[in-house]
């Protein structure tokens, strides 16, 4: 049981984080809070991917001098899995792009209704 918890508790924490963001996205009333929720949610997903790439006893995915020039075979277990890192670089950029567009739309909404609370906006829009 203890082993199971030790092996998996990291994943559970990521899921809790994701769900905090998810809850903010769907249940919060304030538009900026929703955007904060997006950020938390996506960051937690990125954390999940990064933890996929983790290997015990491995170092950064940057080749050392000896591996570069010596013609010895490269020890794969020595380096972290670089692929999720690459994917997550992309995801971070997507995150900031979404943030920019979302804030622009929020400003547009505020310009029109002078409030950021969703229910007030809906009341006013009717």
């Amino acid at each position: 049981m203890f082993d199971l918890v030790m092996a998996k508790y990291n994943f559970w924490i990521y899921i809790v984080l994701m769900m905090i963001g998810f809850y903010a996205m769907i249940a919060k009333n304030n538009l900026i809070k929703k955007i904060v929720g997006i950020n938390i949610f996506q960051t937690a997903i990125i954390l999940f991917y990064i933890s996929i790439s983790f290997k015990r006893g491995a170092t950064l995915p940057i080749l050392t001098e000896s591996d570069m020039h010596g013609h010895t075979t490269i020890e794969i277990a020595q380096y972290l899995n670089p692929l999720p890192h690459v994917l997550m670089l992309t995801a971070i950029v997507v995150m900031v792009a979404t943030l920019g567009v979302a804030l622009a739309i929020a400003i547009l909404i505020y310009r029109k209704y002078h409030t950021l609370e969703e229910d007030e906006i809906l009341k006013e829009a009717k």
Binding site: V36, I62, I92, L99, T115
Partner: protein, 81 residues
């Protein structure tokens, strides 16, 4: 040692995440989100994803927070929840 560090970091991250969505003042919320991003990037650096941590530090904790604050100054920092 590293496990202790991990747990402390994770607790910080959880606290920051919960605080960011419960604080009423939006400016504080955004600031806490910046702190959350920064702890997150520490955690990634600790897992060896230096590239991603670097990007997060510059993008999310840097430009992202600035964009948030700029938008808040253009709108309002009050919130009901």
């Amino acid at each position: 040692m590293t496990i202790a560090f991990d747990i402390v970091l994770q607790v910080f991250i959880l606290i920051c995440a919960i605080a960011a969505i419960t604080v009423r003042d939006l400016l504080s919320s955004v600031m806490i989100l910046g702190a959350y991003s920064f702890f997150m990037c520490l955690m990634w650096a600790q897992m060896g994803a230096v590239d991603v941590a670097f990007t997060e530090a510059s993008v999310s904790a840097g430009i992202g927070t600035i964009l948030f604050i700029a938008a808040l100054m253009k709108t309002t920092r009050r919130s009901r929840d």
